[in-house]
Every structure is written in structure tokens, then in C-alpha cells.
Symmetry: C2
Subunit: 138 residues, 2 copies
């Protein structure tokens, strides 16, 4: 019934005060079996549909950014127009359906380890991001 306590703990443990707004967003983002992808706009629209007191846009931005900073969310920037947040923060890659703009997780085992044969002196690899654009094959 009241699994808010989990979120309250989660928030408090990372130094974020468990406010109504943050808890509500936690429930929306993390209270589900599958990970999912959303834009700020998606989140904002979904929150508007609920008949609860509205959360201001500024708070939505603040919350998503602090969740990202705390490692609860990963950002996948597609281009200037599209930036997704992903509740799956593990190391993984994505399909982007260019017909629907849907972002789809690729499991680690779906992509053979990417080998980079070049390296630059004084530099090391921080991350490798693979984006596979897919389209209708009709």
C-alpha cells in the first residue's frame, strides 16, 4: 500500500528531501517493472493528466536533473530536439526508431562488445555509446 517509504528512503539516503513533488515523480518513474524512456515533455504531460495539484515545470526540470545527478536516471541525447531520460542506468545501448522516434533499450548481450583499436596518448576511454537507428523495412 504505502511503498512511498521506499522512495522516501531512497531520496533521503542521497541527500534529497522527500518532498511531495519528488515522491510523486519517483512513483511515476520508478514504480514499474520495465525501465522506460521519457522526455521532460512526456513527463510534464503525464503529470498534467493526474488530477492532483500540478507540479510546476521548473520543478520537473529540477527534479529530473537532480535525479540524473544522483544517478537515478541516465540521459540519452539524440539531437537538439530530442533528449530522453532512461530509468535504466546500467551500461547499455539503444535502438532509435526514426519512424516513431521511440527509443528502445538494447540489452548488453544484444550488442557485441565494441572494440576500439585506436588510442590517443594521455587519454582514456570514458564511455562508449552506440545508437542504432532503425526504420520500417516494408
Amino acid at each position: 500500500m504505502d511503498n512511498n517509504t521506499d522512495f522516501i528512503e531512497k531520496l533521503r539516503s542521497s541527500g534529497l528531501r522527500p518532498t511531495k513533488q519528488r515522491i510523486r515523480i519517483c512513483k511515476l518513474l520508478f514504480d514499474r517493472k520495465k525501465t522506460f524512456h521519457f522526455t521532460i515533455n512526456d513527463l510534464s504531460k503525464t503529470l498534467k493528466k493526474e488530477n492532483i495539484k500540478q507540479i510546476s515545470l521548473a520543478t520537473i526540470y529540477n527534479t529530473v536533473h537532480s535525479f540524473k545527478k544522483k544517478g537515478y536516471l541516465k540521459e540519452i541525447s539524440i539531437n537538439r530536439e530530442m533528449s530522453y531520460f532512461d530509468t535504466n542506468t546500467s551500461d547499455h545501448h539503444h535502438f532509435l526508431d526514426i519512424n516513431t522516434n521511440q527509443l528502445i533499450d538494447l540489452k548488453k548481450e544484444d550488442v557485441e562488445k565494441v572494440r576500439i583499436k585506436k588510442n590517443l596518448p594521455g587519454k582514456k576511454i570514458n564511455s562508449i555509446e552506440v545508437l542504432v537507428k532503425i526504420e520500417n523495412s516494408n
Copy 2:
């Protein structure tokens, strides 16, 4: 001396009128041995440094976009803040130095072919983009 004729031909052959502005931008972008990467802002600043009549910002945007549409440039969108254009339009990947924000080409042979083991019914792969973020190693 006057290798503008090449650019004039190039432009005309793709249905773009060879205007002063387009030729000047062509020279800046394509009259070099190595391919290179730039943002609209970089290009705009470089053009400002030349003591010739300034090209308006709108024209810079228009030109870069039409060059992209004609296949002379490839866009590499890093995130909302950074979008690079690449004079190397072949199929290749990139290093992004997160300390300097420099984008560096990876040759085809620098990255082992990326194998995707998942496929979705009714969908086919359009492109595979690999971005390798690198940082100072010390």
C-alpha cells in the same frame, strides 16, 4: 589560383546557385587536406575574422543546412548544446574528448564492426553511430 571554378561546378551540379557566400563557405570548409569538424558558432566566428563583407547568420545556417541536405556535410549531434558538422561524410565513428569538447574522427578500421544481435520484426537498421567519449588519463 582560381580553384573557385571547382566549387562553382560542385554547387551548380547539385542545383545550388554559386553565390559569393556559398563559394566563400565552400573554400573555408572544403579547401583543405584534412576533414574537419565545426559548429555553426565556430564557422560564424571564423567568417567574422576575415575582413570581407560579413555573411549574415541566417545565411550561414541556410548554407550549412543546404550543404548537409546535398550530402556535403554530415551532422554529429552530441547533445542539446553541441552539434558538429563534419566534412567527412563517409561512414565512420568519433571520439569526443570530454575535457576539450574536441571531436575526432575514427577511421573505419579503428572500430571493429559493430554487431547487433537483436532485430525487430518489420524494422531494419538504418545506421549505427558509435560515440566514444575520452578523457585525460592521469
